[in-house]
Protein backbone atom coordinates (compact mmCIF):
# COMPACT_ATOMS: atom_id res chain seq x y z
CA UNK A 1 0.00 0.00 0.00
CA UNK A 2 2.63 2.50 1.14
CA UNK A 3 6.14 1.92 -0.08
CA UNK A 4 9.10 4.03 1.00
CA UNK A 5 12.47 3.40 -0.65
CA UNK A 6 15.88 4.78 0.29
CA UNK A 7 14.54 8.00 1.79
CA UNK A 8 17.08 10.74 2.57
CA UNK A 9 15.90 13.91 4.30
CA UNK A 10 17.78 16.96 5.54
CA UNK A 11 16.72 19.64 7.98
CA UNK A 12 18.88 22.59 7.07
CA UNK A 13 22.36 21.13 6.83
CA UNK A 14 21.82 18.15 9.11
CA UNK A 15 21.24 14.84 7.41
CA UNK A 16 18.39 13.22 9.39
CA UNK A 17 17.21 10.23 7.36
CA UNK A 18 19.92 8.01 5.85
CA UNK A 19 18.15 5.82 3.34
CA UNK A 20 15.04 4.56 5.12
CA UNK A 21 13.00 1.89 3.34
CA UNK A 22 9.77 0.33 4.52
CA UNK A 23 6.51 -1.09 3.22
CA UNK A 24 3.16 -0.97 4.97
CA UNK A 25 0.53 -3.34 3.63
CA UNK A 26 -3.19 -3.14 4.03
CA UNK A 27 -4.64 -4.82 7.10
CA UNK A 28 -1.26 -4.41 8.77
CA UNK A 29 0.13 -2.34 11.61
CA UNK A 30 3.80 -1.60 11.11
CA UNK A 31 5.51 -0.01 14.10
CA UNK A 32 8.70 2.03 14.05
CA UNK A 33 10.40 2.13 17.45
CA UNK A 34 13.28 4.27 18.48
CA UNK A 35 14.56 6.74 21.00
CA UNK A 36 14.10 10.49 20.89
CA UNK A 37 15.76 12.28 18.00
CA UNK A 38 16.50 9.28 15.79
CA UNK A 39 14.38 10.67 12.95
CA UNK A 40 10.99 9.02 13.54
CA UNK A 41 8.99 12.21 13.21
CA UNK A 42 11.12 13.30 10.24
CA UNK A 43 10.14 10.02 8.58
CA UNK A 44 6.45 10.85 9.05
CA UNK A 45 6.99 14.44 7.95
CA UNK A 46 8.75 13.25 4.80
CA UNK A 47 5.87 10.94 3.92
CA UNK A 48 3.23 13.65 4.40
CA UNK A 49 5.49 16.21 2.70
CA UNK A 50 6.01 18.61 5.61
CA UNK A 51 9.69 18.03 4.91
CA UNK A 52 10.93 17.56 1.36
CA UNK A 53 13.04 14.42 0.93
CA UNK A 54 16.35 15.01 -0.84
CA UNK A 55 16.39 11.49 -2.25
CA UNK A 56 14.32 8.32 -2.41
CA UNK A 57 10.81 7.42 -3.53
CA UNK A 58 7.43 7.30 -1.80
CA UNK A 59 4.72 5.28 -3.52
CA UNK A 60 1.08 4.92 -2.62
CA UNK A 61 -0.63 1.95 -4.31
CA UNK A 62 2.19 1.90 -6.86
CA UNK A 63 1.82 5.60 -7.78
CA UNK A 64 4.79 7.83 -7.10
CA UNK A 65 3.79 10.66 -4.76
CA UNK A 66 7.29 11.90 -3.88
CA UNK A 67 7.42 15.67 -3.58
CA UNK A 68 3.66 16.24 -3.95
CA UNK A 69 2.29 19.05 -1.78
CA UNK A 70 0.87 17.86 1.55
CA UNK A 71 -2.77 18.48 0.75
CA UNK A 72 -2.55 16.41 -2.43
CA UNK A 73 -0.94 13.52 -0.59
CA UNK A 74 -3.72 13.64 1.98
CA UNK A 75 -6.35 13.76 -0.75
CA UNK A 76 -4.90 10.57 -2.21
CA UNK A 77 -5.58 8.72 1.01
CA UNK A 78 -2.89 9.24 3.64
CA UNK A 79 -4.01 10.68 6.98
CA UNK A 80 -1.87 11.86 9.87
CA UNK A 81 -2.37 11.81 13.62
CA UNK A 82 0.53 14.07 14.52
CA UNK A 83 2.75 14.12 17.55
CA UNK A 84 1.25 16.40 20.18
CA UNK A 85 -2.24 15.82 18.65
CA UNK A 86 -2.43 19.33 17.10
CA UNK A 87 -6.21 19.57 17.07
CA UNK A 88 -7.50 22.92 15.81
CA UNK A 89 -7.86 24.48 19.22
CA UNK A 90 -10.17 27.37 18.44
CA UNK A 91 -12.56 25.16 16.45
CA UNK A 92 -15.35 23.13 18.02
CA UNK A 93 -15.08 19.35 18.05
CA UNK A 94 -17.65 19.16 15.28
CA UNK A 95 -15.81 21.74 13.16
CA UNK A 96 -12.57 19.80 13.56
CA UNK A 97 -14.37 16.87 11.94
CA UNK A 98 -16.16 18.94 9.30
CA UNK A 99 -13.17 20.47 7.55
CA UNK A 100 -11.00 17.47 6.55
CA UNK A 101 -11.10 16.51 2.89
CA UNK A 102 -13.10 13.33 2.32
CA UNK A 103 -11.49 10.71 0.10
CA UNK A 104 -13.67 8.34 -1.88
CA UNK A 105 -13.68 4.84 -0.49
CA UNK A 106 -13.61 1.68 -2.49
CA UNK A 107 -15.36 -1.52 -1.46
CA UNK A 108 -13.49 -3.41 1.20
CA UNK A 109 -12.36 -0.94 3.84
CA UNK A 110 -14.88 0.54 6.20
CA UNK A 111 -16.09 3.98 5.24
CA UNK A 112 -16.06 6.75 7.84
CA UNK A 113 -18.10 9.86 8.34
CA UNK A 114 -18.72 12.14 11.30
CA UNK A 115 -21.49 9.89 12.68
CA UNK A 116 -19.38 6.74 12.61
CA UNK A 117 -16.49 8.65 14.19
CA UNK A 118 -18.85 9.70 16.98
CA UNK A 119 -19.96 6.06 17.34
CA UNK A 120 -16.33 5.01 17.72
CA UNK A 121 -15.58 7.80 20.21
CA UNK A 122 -18.83 8.54 22.09
CA UNK A 123 -17.16 11.13 24.35
CA UNK A 124 -16.62 13.32 21.32
CA UNK A 125 -20.33 13.29 20.53
CA UNK A 126 -21.08 14.57 24.03
CA UNK A 127 -18.55 17.36 23.54
CA UNK A 128 -19.34 18.18 19.92
CA UNK A 129 -19.87 21.91 20.49
CA UNK A 130 -16.96 22.45 22.85
CA UNK A 131 -13.79 24.14 21.71
CA UNK A 132 -11.17 21.50 21.00
CA UNK A 133 -8.61 23.46 23.03
CA UNK A 134 -10.68 22.82 26.17
CA UNK A 135 -10.65 19.02 25.84
CA UNK A 136 -8.49 16.81 28.05
CA UNK A 137 -5.38 15.20 26.60
CA UNK A 138 -7.09 11.85 26.04
CA UNK A 139 -10.08 13.51 24.41
CA UNK A 140 -7.80 15.52 22.15
CA UNK A 141 -6.09 12.28 21.11
CA UNK A 142 -9.49 10.79 20.24
CA UNK A 143 -10.33 13.92 18.26
CA UNK A 144 -7.02 13.77 16.40
CA UNK A 145 -7.80 10.12 15.53
CA UNK A 146 -11.37 10.93 14.50
CA UNK A 147 -10.16 13.85 12.39
CA UNK A 148 -7.80 11.55 10.52
CA UNK A 149 -10.48 8.87 10.08
CA UNK A 150 -13.23 11.08 8.64
CA UNK A 151 -11.00 11.72 5.62
CA UNK A 152 -11.35 7.98 4.85
CA UNK A 153 -7.65 7.23 4.51
CA UNK A 154 -6.11 4.09 3.06
CA UNK A 155 -2.97 4.71 5.07
CA UNK A 156 -2.94 6.04 8.62
CA UNK A 157 0.23 7.60 10.04
CA UNK A 158 0.30 7.73 13.84
CA UNK A 159 3.10 9.71 15.44
CA UNK A 160 3.49 8.77 19.11
CA UNK A 161 -0.22 8.52 19.85
CA UNK A 162 0.39 7.14 23.34
CA UNK A 163 2.45 10.12 24.46
CA UNK A 164 1.12 11.58 27.70
CA UNK A 165 -1.84 9.20 28.01
CA UNK A 166 -2.81 7.03 30.98
CA UNK A 167 -2.02 3.29 30.57
CA UNK A 168 -5.69 2.34 30.42
CA UNK A 169 -6.35 4.81 27.59
CA UNK A 170 -3.24 3.59 25.77
CA UNK A 171 -4.68 0.04 25.83
CA UNK A 172 -7.99 1.26 24.42
CA UNK A 173 -6.15 3.17 21.73
CA UNK A 174 -4.15 0.08 20.84
CA UNK A 175 -7.38 -1.91 20.40
CA UNK A 176 -8.86 0.81 18.18
CA UNK A 177 -5.74 0.79 15.98
CA UNK A 178 -5.77 -3.01 15.64
CA UNK A 179 -9.43 -2.90 14.67
CA UNK A 180 -8.75 -0.25 12.02
CA UNK A 181 -6.11 -2.48 10.46
CA UNK A 182 -8.46 -5.47 10.51
CA UNK A 183 -10.99 -3.38 8.63
CA UNK A 184 -8.51 -2.86 5.81
CA UNK A 185 -6.35 0.13 6.66
CA UNK A 186 -2.57 0.22 6.43
CA UNK A 187 -1.21 1.69 9.66
CA UNK A 188 2.26 3.10 10.28
CA UNK A 189 2.71 3.49 14.03
CA UNK A 190 5.62 5.57 15.29
CA UNK A 191 6.26 4.90 18.98
CA UNK A 192 8.65 5.24 21.87
CA UNK A 193 6.37 3.13 24.05
CA UNK A 194 7.72 -0.40 23.63
CA UNK A 195 4.72 -2.22 25.08
CA UNK A 196 2.26 -0.23 23.01
CA UNK A 197 4.13 -1.09 19.81
CA UNK A 198 4.49 -4.73 20.84
CA UNK A 199 0.82 -5.15 21.59
CA UNK A 200 -0.42 -3.34 18.47
CA UNK A 201 1.88 -4.16 15.56
CA UNK A 202 2.39 -7.24 13.38
CA UNK A 203 5.85 -6.09 12.42
CA UNK A 204 8.34 -3.84 14.15
CA UNK A 205 11.22 -1.80 12.78
CA UNK A 206 13.81 -0.29 15.10
CA UNK A 207 15.30 3.01 14.08
CA UNK A 208 18.55 4.59 15.15
CA UNK A 209 20.35 7.65 13.78
CA UNK A 210 18.14 7.92 10.73
CA UNK A 211 18.43 4.28 9.72
CA UNK A 212 16.38 1.14 10.19
CA UNK A 213 18.67 -1.13 12.21
CA UNK A 214 16.39 -4.06 12.93
CA UNK A 215 13.29 -5.64 11.40
CA UNK A 216 11.35 -8.44 13.03
CA UNK A 217 8.09 -9.68 14.49
CA UNK A 218 7.13 -8.31 17.91
CA UNK A 219 7.92 -11.65 19.59
CA UNK A 220 11.42 -11.80 18.15
CA UNK A 221 12.13 -8.26 19.24
CA UNK A 222 10.82 -8.95 22.74
CA UNK A 223 13.36 -11.78 23.04
CA UNK A 224 16.27 -9.92 21.45
CA UNK A 225 18.01 -8.42 24.47
CA UNK A 226 20.91 -7.05 22.45
CA UNK A 227 18.80 -4.87 20.14
CA UNK A 228 16.65 -3.73 23.05
CA UNK A 229 19.68 -2.70 25.08
CA UNK A 230 21.55 -1.08 22.25
CA UNK A 231 18.84 0.88 20.53
CA UNK A 232 15.94 1.19 22.95
CA UNK A 233 17.79 1.64 26.23
CA UNK A 234 15.99 -1.24 27.94
Amino acid sequence: MLEVTELHTYYGFSHILHGVSLTVNREQVLAVLGRNGVGKTTLVHSIISFAKPAGGRIKLEGHDITGFPAHQIVRRGIALVPQGRRVFRSLSVLENLTIPFRCRTEGTSRSWDIESAFDAFPTLRARRDQRAGNLSGGEQQMLAMARALVSNPKVLLLDEPSEGLAPLIVRELSDVIKELAQQGMAVLLIEQNFNMALRTAQRILVMSRGQIVHRSSPQELAENQEIKARYLGM
Binding site: V74, P82, R86, F88, S90, P100
Partner: protein, 285 residues
Protein backbone atom coordinates in the same frame (compact mmCIF):
# COMPACT_ATOMS: atom_id res chain seq x y z
CA UNK B 1 -25.74 66.91 24.89
CA UNK B 2 -26.16 67.48 21.17
CA UNK B 3 -22.39 67.96 20.87
CA UNK B 4 -21.74 64.57 22.43
CA UNK B 5 -24.26 62.74 20.29
CA UNK B 6 -22.98 64.28 17.08
CA UNK B 7 -19.36 63.63 18.02
CA UNK B 8 -20.20 60.04 18.97
CA UNK B 9 -21.88 59.48 15.62
CA UNK B 10 -18.87 61.03 13.91
CA UNK B 11 -16.58 58.74 15.84
CA UNK B 12 -18.76 55.75 15.00
CA UNK B 13 -18.73 56.47 11.27
CA UNK B 14 -14.96 56.91 11.33
CA UNK B 15 -14.66 53.71 13.36
CA UNK B 16 -16.60 51.75 10.74
CA UNK B 17 -14.33 53.11 8.03
CA UNK B 18 -11.28 52.10 10.07
CA UNK B 19 -12.76 48.67 10.68
CA UNK B 20 -13.20 48.02 6.96
CA UNK B 21 -9.66 49.27 6.46
CA UNK B 22 -8.17 47.04 9.16
CA UNK B 23 -10.27 43.88 8.83
CA UNK B 24 -8.33 42.86 5.73
CA UNK B 25 -4.95 43.68 7.21
CA UNK B 26 -5.77 41.68 10.32
CA UNK B 27 -7.22 38.75 8.38
CA UNK B 28 -4.12 38.53 6.19
CA UNK B 29 -1.75 38.79 9.12
CA UNK B 30 -3.68 36.26 11.20
CA UNK B 31 -3.62 33.61 8.50
CA UNK B 32 -0.31 34.05 6.75
CA UNK B 33 1.79 36.15 9.10
CA UNK B 34 2.34 38.81 6.47
CA UNK B 35 2.25 42.45 7.49
CA UNK B 36 1.20 43.98 4.19
CA UNK B 37 2.59 47.52 4.11
CA UNK B 38 1.09 48.06 0.67
CA UNK B 39 -2.29 47.90 2.41
CA UNK B 40 -2.74 51.67 2.20
CA UNK B 41 -2.12 51.43 -1.54
CA UNK B 42 -5.17 49.21 -1.87
CA UNK B 43 -7.17 51.97 -0.20
CA UNK B 44 -5.69 54.45 -2.70
CA UNK B 45 -6.31 52.23 -5.72
CA UNK B 46 -9.90 51.57 -4.60
CA UNK B 47 -10.65 55.26 -4.14
CA UNK B 48 -9.03 56.42 -7.40
CA UNK B 49 -10.63 53.65 -9.45
CA UNK B 50 -14.01 54.62 -8.04
CA UNK B 51 -13.26 58.27 -8.87
CA UNK B 52 -12.83 57.41 -12.54
CA UNK B 53 -15.72 54.96 -12.68
CA UNK B 54 -18.10 57.42 -10.99
CA UNK B 55 -17.02 60.22 -13.34
CA UNK B 56 -17.69 57.92 -16.28
CA UNK B 57 -20.88 56.18 -15.14
CA UNK B 58 -22.27 58.65 -12.61
CA UNK B 59 -23.10 55.69 -10.36
CA UNK B 60 -21.60 55.52 -6.86
CA UNK B 61 -22.43 51.87 -6.35
CA UNK B 62 -20.67 50.89 -9.54
CA UNK B 63 -17.73 52.83 -8.12
CA UNK B 64 -17.96 50.85 -4.88
CA UNK B 65 -17.86 47.54 -6.75
CA UNK B 66 -15.10 48.56 -9.19
CA UNK B 67 -12.96 50.04 -6.39
CA UNK B 68 -13.13 46.76 -4.46
CA UNK B 69 -12.40 44.71 -7.57
CA UNK B 70 -9.41 46.89 -8.51
CA UNK B 71 -7.94 46.68 -5.01
CA UNK B 72 -8.57 42.92 -4.96
CA UNK B 73 -6.77 42.63 -8.30
CA UNK B 74 -3.77 44.50 -6.90
CA UNK B 75 -3.85 42.13 -3.92
CA UNK B 76 -3.97 39.12 -6.23
CA UNK B 77 -0.92 40.21 -8.22
CA UNK B 78 0.97 41.14 -5.06
CA UNK B 79 0.30 37.81 -3.35
CA UNK B 80 0.40 35.40 -6.29
CA UNK B 81 3.40 36.77 -8.15
CA UNK B 82 5.51 38.51 -5.50
CA UNK B 83 4.79 37.50 -1.90
CA UNK B 84 4.39 33.78 -2.63
CA UNK B 85 8.05 33.66 -3.67
CA UNK B 86 9.28 34.91 -0.30
CA UNK B 87 6.85 33.14 2.00
CA UNK B 88 7.97 33.13 5.63
CA UNK B 89 10.74 35.72 5.19
CA UNK B 90 9.57 38.67 7.24
CA UNK B 91 12.21 41.25 6.34
CA UNK B 92 11.81 40.65 2.61
CA UNK B 93 8.03 40.91 2.95
CA UNK B 94 8.27 44.24 4.72
CA UNK B 95 10.70 45.65 2.15
CA UNK B 96 8.75 44.30 -0.79
CA UNK B 97 5.35 45.58 0.33
CA UNK B 98 6.82 48.93 1.37
CA UNK B 99 8.44 49.28 -2.06
CA UNK B 100 5.17 48.37 -3.75
CA UNK B 101 3.48 51.15 -1.79
CA UNK B 102 5.79 53.77 -3.35
CA UNK B 103 5.47 52.29 -6.83
CA UNK B 104 1.68 52.20 -6.65
CA UNK B 105 1.60 55.72 -5.20
CA UNK B 106 3.67 57.06 -8.10
CA UNK B 107 1.61 55.14 -10.65
CA UNK B 108 -1.48 56.77 -9.15
CA UNK B 109 0.08 60.23 -9.57
CA UNK B 110 0.87 59.43 -13.22
CA UNK B 111 -2.68 58.24 -13.88
CA UNK B 112 -4.80 60.54 -11.72
CA UNK B 113 -2.53 63.52 -11.04
CA UNK B 114 -1.41 64.94 -7.72
CA UNK B 115 -4.32 67.26 -6.93
CA UNK B 116 -6.31 66.34 -3.83
CA UNK B 117 -9.87 65.33 -4.71
CA UNK B 118 -12.91 63.93 -2.98
CA UNK B 119 -15.41 61.44 -4.31
CA UNK B 120 -18.91 62.64 -5.04
CA UNK B 121 -21.47 61.35 -2.58
CA UNK B 122 -24.10 59.07 -4.06
CA UNK B 123 -27.49 60.47 -5.14
CA UNK B 124 -29.90 60.45 -2.23
CA UNK B 125 -27.17 60.40 0.42
CA UNK B 126 -26.14 64.01 0.11
CA UNK B 127 -27.31 66.49 2.71
CA UNK B 128 -28.32 65.83 6.27
CA UNK B 129 -31.06 64.07 8.13
CA UNK B 130 -32.92 65.30 11.22
CA UNK B 131 -32.65 62.75 14.04
CA UNK B 132 -35.07 64.27 16.55
CA UNK B 133 -33.41 67.67 16.64
CA UNK B 134 -29.92 66.49 15.79
CA UNK B 135 -28.79 67.24 12.26
CA UNK B 136 -26.39 64.61 10.93
CA UNK B 137 -25.00 63.93 7.44
CA UNK B 138 -26.87 61.11 5.70
CA UNK B 139 -23.71 59.79 4.09
CA UNK B 140 -22.04 59.17 7.46
CA UNK B 141 -25.07 57.19 8.64
CA UNK B 142 -24.73 55.15 5.45
CA UNK B 143 -21.08 54.42 6.28
CA UNK B 144 -22.08 53.29 9.78
CA UNK B 145 -24.74 50.97 8.31
CA UNK B 146 -22.33 49.48 5.75
CA UNK B 147 -19.64 48.96 8.39
CA UNK B 148 -21.98 47.21 10.81
CA UNK B 149 -23.48 45.06 8.05
CA UNK B 150 -20.09 43.93 6.77
CA UNK B 151 -18.86 43.40 10.33
CA UNK B 152 -21.79 41.09 11.08
CA UNK B 153 -21.44 39.31 7.73
CA UNK B 154 -17.72 38.69 8.33
CA UNK B 155 -18.41 37.44 11.84
CA UNK B 156 -21.13 35.04 10.62
CA UNK B 157 -18.84 33.86 7.83
CA UNK B 158 -15.95 33.21 10.22
CA UNK B 159 -17.90 31.60 13.03
CA UNK B 160 -20.81 29.83 11.35
CA UNK B 161 -19.67 28.49 7.99
CA UNK B 162 -17.41 25.63 6.96
CA UNK B 163 -15.24 28.08 5.04
CA UNK B 164 -14.87 30.17 8.15
CA UNK B 165 -13.84 27.05 10.09
CA UNK B 166 -11.25 26.25 7.42
CA UNK B 167 -9.90 29.78 7.74
CA UNK B 168 -9.67 29.52 11.54
CA UNK B 169 -8.01 26.13 11.23
CA UNK B 170 -5.41 27.74 8.97
CA UNK B 171 -4.81 30.44 11.58
CA UNK B 172 -4.54 27.85 14.37
CA UNK B 173 -2.08 25.53 12.66
CA UNK B 174 -1.35 26.10 9.01
CA UNK B 175 0.75 22.99 8.55
CA UNK B 176 -1.89 20.74 10.11
CA UNK B 177 -4.51 22.36 7.86
CA UNK B 178 -2.49 21.06 4.90
CA UNK B 179 -2.48 17.64 6.54
CA UNK B 180 -6.28 17.43 6.56
CA UNK B 181 -6.28 18.09 2.82
CA UNK B 182 -6.90 21.84 2.75
CA UNK B 183 -5.29 23.57 -0.23
CA UNK B 184 -3.58 26.21 1.89
CA UNK B 185 -1.80 28.09 -0.94
CA UNK B 186 -5.18 28.62 -2.64
CA UNK B 187 -6.72 29.66 0.68
CA UNK B 188 -3.94 32.25 1.10
CA UNK B 189 -4.64 33.73 -2.32
CA UNK B 190 -8.39 33.91 -1.72
CA UNK B 191 -7.97 35.54 1.70
CA UNK B 192 -5.47 38.03 0.33
CA UNK B 193 -7.90 39.03 -2.43
CA UNK B 194 -10.77 39.28 0.07
CA UNK B 195 -8.72 41.37 2.49
CA UNK B 196 -7.44 43.81 -0.11
CA UNK B 197 -10.89 44.10 -1.75
CA UNK B 198 -12.35 45.10 1.65
CA UNK B 199 -9.66 47.76 1.89
CA UNK B 200 -10.55 49.01 -1.57
CA UNK B 201 -14.16 49.21 -0.40
CA UNK B 202 -13.07 51.32 2.58
CA UNK B 203 -11.19 53.61 0.16
CA UNK B 204 -14.36 54.23 -1.86
CA UNK B 205 -16.48 54.73 1.25
CA UNK B 206 -13.94 57.07 2.79
CA UNK B 207 -13.47 58.98 -0.49
CA UNK B 208 -16.30 61.50 0.10
CA UNK B 209 -15.08 62.59 3.54
CA UNK B 210 -11.41 61.63 3.89
CA UNK B 211 -10.64 62.43 0.28
CA UNK B 212 -8.09 60.97 -2.14
CA UNK B 213 -4.66 62.50 -2.56
CA UNK B 214 -1.04 61.41 -2.88
CA UNK B 215 0.12 60.31 0.56
CA UNK B 216 -3.27 59.14 1.81
CA UNK B 217 -1.94 55.59 1.44
CA UNK B 218 0.71 56.18 4.09
CA UNK B 219 -1.73 58.04 6.34
CA UNK B 220 -4.32 55.27 6.38
CA UNK B 221 -1.59 52.67 6.78
CA UNK B 222 -0.42 54.49 9.89
CA UNK B 223 -3.97 54.59 11.30
CA UNK B 224 -4.45 50.92 10.47
CA UNK B 225 -1.26 50.03 12.28
CA UNK B 226 -2.39 51.98 15.34
CA UNK B 227 -5.75 50.17 15.34
CA UNK B 228 -4.03 46.85 15.05
CA UNK B 229 -1.60 47.60 17.86
CA UNK B 230 -4.46 48.66 20.11
CA UNK B 231 -6.86 45.86 19.14
CA UNK B 232 -4.36 43.10 18.56
CA UNK B 233 -3.18 41.50 15.34
CA UNK B 234 -4.96 38.63 13.71
CA UNK B 235 -8.27 38.98 15.47
CA UNK B 236 -11.42 40.30 13.83
CA UNK B 237 -12.77 41.30 17.24
CA UNK B 238 -9.57 43.26 17.86
CA UNK B 239 -9.94 45.07 14.52
CA UNK B 240 -13.54 45.98 15.36
CA UNK B 241 -13.07 47.23 18.92
CA UNK B 242 -9.64 48.68 18.15
CA UNK B 243 -11.27 50.78 15.41
CA UNK B 244 -13.94 51.99 17.86
CA UNK B 245 -11.31 53.02 20.39
CA UNK B 246 -8.97 54.73 17.94
CA UNK B 247 -11.79 56.56 16.14
CA UNK B 248 -13.20 57.80 19.46
CA UNK B 249 -9.80 58.97 20.65
CA UNK B 250 -9.15 60.68 17.35
CA UNK B 251 -12.54 62.32 17.08
CA UNK B 252 -12.97 63.48 20.69
CA UNK B 253 -9.30 64.41 20.85
CA UNK B 254 -9.64 66.68 17.85
CA UNK B 255 -12.95 68.13 19.10
CA UNK B 256 -11.89 68.74 22.70
CA UNK B 257 -8.13 69.36 22.54
CA UNK B 258 -7.37 70.26 18.93
CA UNK B 259 -3.80 71.26 19.77
CA UNK B 260 -3.08 67.69 20.97
CA UNK B 261 -4.56 65.99 17.88
CA UNK B 262 -1.78 63.45 17.26
CA UNK B 263 -1.04 62.91 20.91
CA UNK B 264 -4.51 61.55 21.76
CA UNK B 265 -4.02 58.59 19.41
CA UNK B 266 -0.37 57.81 19.77
CA UNK B 267 -0.03 58.16 23.54
CA UNK B 268 -2.62 55.44 24.28
CA UNK B 269 -1.01 53.29 21.59
CA UNK B 270 2.38 53.63 23.23
CA UNK B 271 0.89 52.75 26.62
CA UNK B 272 -0.84 49.64 25.27
CA UNK B 273 2.31 48.61 23.46
CA UNK B 274 4.23 48.88 26.74
CA UNK B 275 1.63 47.21 28.97
CA UNK B 276 0.06 44.62 26.67
CA UNK B 277 2.20 44.11 23.56
CA UNK B 278 -0.28 41.68 21.99
CA UNK B 279 -3.00 44.35 21.95
CA UNK B 280 -6.25 44.24 23.88
CA UNK B 281 -7.77 41.30 21.98
CA UNK B 282 -4.70 39.90 20.26
CA UNK B 283 -3.54 36.34 20.45
CA UNK B 284 -0.13 35.44 21.73
CA UNK B 285 2.26 35.08 18.83
Amino acid sequence: MEFWIIQSLNALSFAMLLFLLCAGLSLIFGLMNILNLAHGSCYLVGAYTALSVIAWSDNFFLGLVSGSVAAGAVGFVLQRFLLQRIYGRRLLQVLLTFGCMFILGDLAIIIWGADPTTLRKPEGLTGAVDLGGIIFPKYRLFVIAVGITIGIALWLFQEKTKWGAILRAGVDDEQMARAVGINVPALFTVVFILGTALTGLSGVLGGPFVGVYPGVDLEVLLLAVVVIIVGGLGSMKGAFFGSLIVASLDNFGKALFPELAMFTIFAPMAIILAVKPTGLWGRVL
